[in-house]
């Protein structure tokens, strides 16, 4: 079985990860009967070579894996890996129809953002109107009238 090892510097949540320093090994064997989502490999390689890799691809399974554990014993390296479902199915996932709940650049700022933080104090802005009142005041006298009587 062929296994390609990589150095992955991308966040685990990145769909299409940036990989470099490909290192291919053939005749790699599974350590035991194992789940392809969590394979355990027995690899014969030069001492210390695999220690700089954290990611791998198994063409036979068509999947990418995070290397979770790497141990060495007597000229062999033992690799415990976990499938990266995002990278493994990235192409198909990108064609899937979805509704974005939160998005980095395609968003609507009028939707309430419950995760957004505001300080406990507000800023107050005052806009004054013209006042119809005056401190001097006006005396209003109301007396009995008598119609038009003079």
């Amino acid at each position: 079985m062929v296994v390609k090892f990589y150095r992955n510097k991308s966040d685990e949540r990145v769909l299409s990860k940036t990989l470099d320093s490909e290192y291919t090994l053939s005749n790699v064997k599974l350590l035991e009967v194992t789940d392809i989502l969590h394979p355990k490999l027995k690899v014969k390689s030069a001492a210390g070579v695999l220690t700089t890799y954290n990611y791998m691809y198994i063409p036979d399974y068509g999947r990418y894996y995070f290397i979770e554990e790497l141990t060495a014993d007597n000229g062999y390296s033992y690799v415990t890996a976990r499938v990266d479902v995002l990278m493994s199915h990235a192409t198909a996932l990108k064609n899937c129809s979805c509704i974005a709940e939160r998005q980095q650049s395609e968003y609507n700022f009028y939707l309430n953002d419950e995760q957004f933080k505001t300080l406990q104090y507000d800023k107050q802005f005052q806009h004054n109107f013209t006042s119809p009142f005056n401190k001097g005041g006006s005396f209003i006298l109301v007396v009995q009238g008598s119609g038009n009587y003079d």
């Binding site: 493994s88 199915h89 395609e106 505001t118 800023k123 401190k135 005041g137 005396f139 109301v142 119609g147």
Partner: protein, 583 residues
């Protein structure tokens, strides 16, 4: 077929009747020939109504591209682009002959069309009022047997050429030269307008590229002035458009900007103050008194000139005073006149009558705009409050107030000192959206004292009536003194005059407060860390393929079609996407 439509944005509902003419028009959309029935509109047709009509009748045509020219002017195409608020595209298409006549007799043109793109300023006025400056881009495509052979880009004078072209198109509306000018410049419907030409085949697109809505057919009705109304900007057209398309995908970036639930609203107009006031009855006189007026009046009321002339219906001169108050607002004064109390006039005291006991004061307006351009500008983050002197504070709904003009007016009743603050909020659509009222009082009652002779007279008369039988003989003589003597003989109490108070001792806290009304906006202070968007994203609710997004994305729902994975993997994928991934 009868439909109801609006000739104007705020106009009345008018019934339009469309009837099939029995003729058909074959429209070539680039790949297929579409057979369209032609209709005659017997109402005053507008493109809005044609649009509504055809949209209802031919929903299948919404997505049909119909660029084929007919007759002199094939149509006006209103194009809603992604920036439809700021862009209007007008396409004019001509038959070969007309185009040739305008362009030096070229003979190889099969399907010429001209596209004009206007900047936002065009929406300030109908496009027929445009000037050359409005034409920001002009180009044409020339086709030979369906193949584009050259593009034409603007040169000096193109704007003029366009005006001339429109002018030519108006040929179908009027034969009168001056009417043409009038029509182009003002939109005034010419008296000799004919139902052909520019109103034909109007298409509205859902985007700026390919999708067209067929909204008109050869019109047989006379064009109306409503067509020229500035209310028919593309913005308003869009409102009409979306009224029947609320099921469309309305997600999008930024503010929606639309009024998807558009409905007409009556303006909440200001009715003014009452024209008839209590002072109109004649039973009271209302004066705007100066301090000197009051001093003179107090003196006058205890003079013989007053006491001997007032009818003896009241026992105390102070009873002629209904109220005296100090009001924080000033009434409109009439021409100073002689003080008149009851039927007694004192020419020596010149006092200003209050012209009307009601008066309104316009305190001006304040524009409230968004600060953040988003949810932070609304409740519960933003709060809007008004401080209204003499009335107290009121909270305004930020949703109503934001992006609006707030106008404050006070109405004051100088008879009672009551005042009513009225806050009108006019939103950015020009419709009064909300009116708030708050009542209060802007006066302080001034107490006045006087001697109450009522007790004096009442004691006199009660004593008199009690001895009336005993003194009947004396009464018959008609001598008042004899009457008093008779009363005195009946053990009359000593007469006394009490002090009474008109008005009351009270207070008005408003006098001690602020006199300037104000609008107070409490805006939140955001804590916006760098990298917020790449790390958290913002609420989106936008649909699309996952690959159409870029950067941080969390999804509420995804259809995992085409993903060949184990069930455990699919579950993990859903979990990861819900938590947020980087595309």
């Amino acid at each position: 077929m009868i439909i109801k439509g609006m000739p104007g944005y705020f106009g009345d509902i008018v019934t339009y009747e469309f009837e099939p003419t029995g003729t058909h028009a074959n429209i070539f959309n680039g790949s297929d020939v579409i057979d369209l029935p032609a209709y005659k509109c017997t109402g005053e047709g507008t493109y809005i109504n044609w649009y509504k009509f055809f949209y209802e009748q031919h929903p299948e045509l919404r997505d049909v591209n119909i660029p084929d020219p007919i007759e002199v002017l094939s149509g006006i195409y209103l194009v809603r682009s992604t920036e439809y608020e700021s862009k209007l595209e007008v396409w004019l298409s001509f038959t070969t002959d007309v185009y040739n006549s305008l362009n030096g007799g070229q003979t190889t043109i099969a399907e010429p069309s001209i596209k004009f793109i206007f900047d936002k300023s065009i929406f300030a006025t109908p496009f027929w009022n445009m000037t050359f400056a409005h034409v920001s881009k002009v180009y044409t495509y020339e086709y030979v047997e369906g193949v584009k052979v050259w593009d034409y880009y603007p040169v000096a004078g193109d704007g003029l050429w366009f005006i001339q072209t429109v002018f030519t198109a108006v040929q179908g509306i009027t034969n009168n030269y001056f009417n043409k000018i009038l029509y182009i410049n003002e939109g005034t419907v010419p008296t000799d307008a004919e139902p052909v030409g520019i109103f034909q085949n109007i298409h509205v697109s859902s985007d700026s590229s390919t999708t067209w809505y067929y909204i008109g057919d050869p019109a047989t009705s006379r064009p109306t002035s409503a067509y020229h109304s500035p209310q028919y900007t593309l913005t308003n057209w869009r409102k009409m458009h979306f009224e029947s398309n609320q099921e469309d995908d309305t997600s999008g970036s930024g503010g929606g900007g639309g009024n998807y639930g558009y409905e007409q609203s009556d303006t909440n107009h200001y009715d003014g103050i009452p024209t008839v006031t209590p002072a109109s009855s004649g039973f009271i006189n209302v004066y705007h008194a100066s301090v000197q007026n009051l001093l003179d009046m107090a003196k006058f009321m205890y003079t013989d000139a007053f006491l001997q002339n007032v009818p003896k219906l009241v026992s105390n001169p102070i009873d002629y005073i209904i109220s005296l108050m100090l009001c924080a607002a000033a009434p409109d004064d009439g021409t100073a006149e002689s003080l008149r109390i009851g039927s007694v006039k004192n020419v020596a005291i010149q006092i200003a009558p209050v012209q009307s006991v009601y008066k309104t004061f316009d305190c001006g307006t304040v524009n409230v705009e968004e600060c953040f351009g988003g949810f932070l500008d609304y409740a519960p983050f933003t709060k809007v409050r008004m401080q209204l002197p003499f009335c107290g504070d009121i909270d305004l709904d930020p949703q109503i107030v934001m992006h609006s003009t707030v106008q404050l007016r006070y109405a004051v009743d100088f008879l009672t000192g009551s005042c009513l603050a009225r806050v009108d909020v006019t939103n950015n659509h020009g419709i009064a959206a909300e009116t708030y009222f708050k009542d209060g009082n802007c006066s302080v009652s001034v107490p006045m004292t006087g001697a109450d002779f009522n007790s004096y007279y009442s004691s006199v008369f009660s004593a008199g009536f009690s001895v009336v039988s005993a003194g009947a003989t004396t009464l018959a003589t008609g001598s008042p003194l004899a009457l008093m003597g008779a009363i005195g003989g009946a053990n009359m109490q000593r007469p006394r005059a009490d002090t009474i108070v008109t008005g009351h001792l009270g207070s008005n806290h408003g006098f001690l407060g602020n006199y300037t009304p104000a609008l107070i906006i409490s805006r939140p202070v955001q804590s916006f860390p760098e990298g917020y968007n790449p790390n958290k994203g913002r609420p989106s609710n936008i649909g699309g393929t996952l690959g159409s997004f870029s950067g941080y994305t969390s999804v509420t729902s995804i259809k995992l079609d085409g993903v060949v994975a184990t069930d455990a993997e699919l579950s993990e994928i859903r979990q990861l996407l819900a938590g947020g991934v980087y595309v």
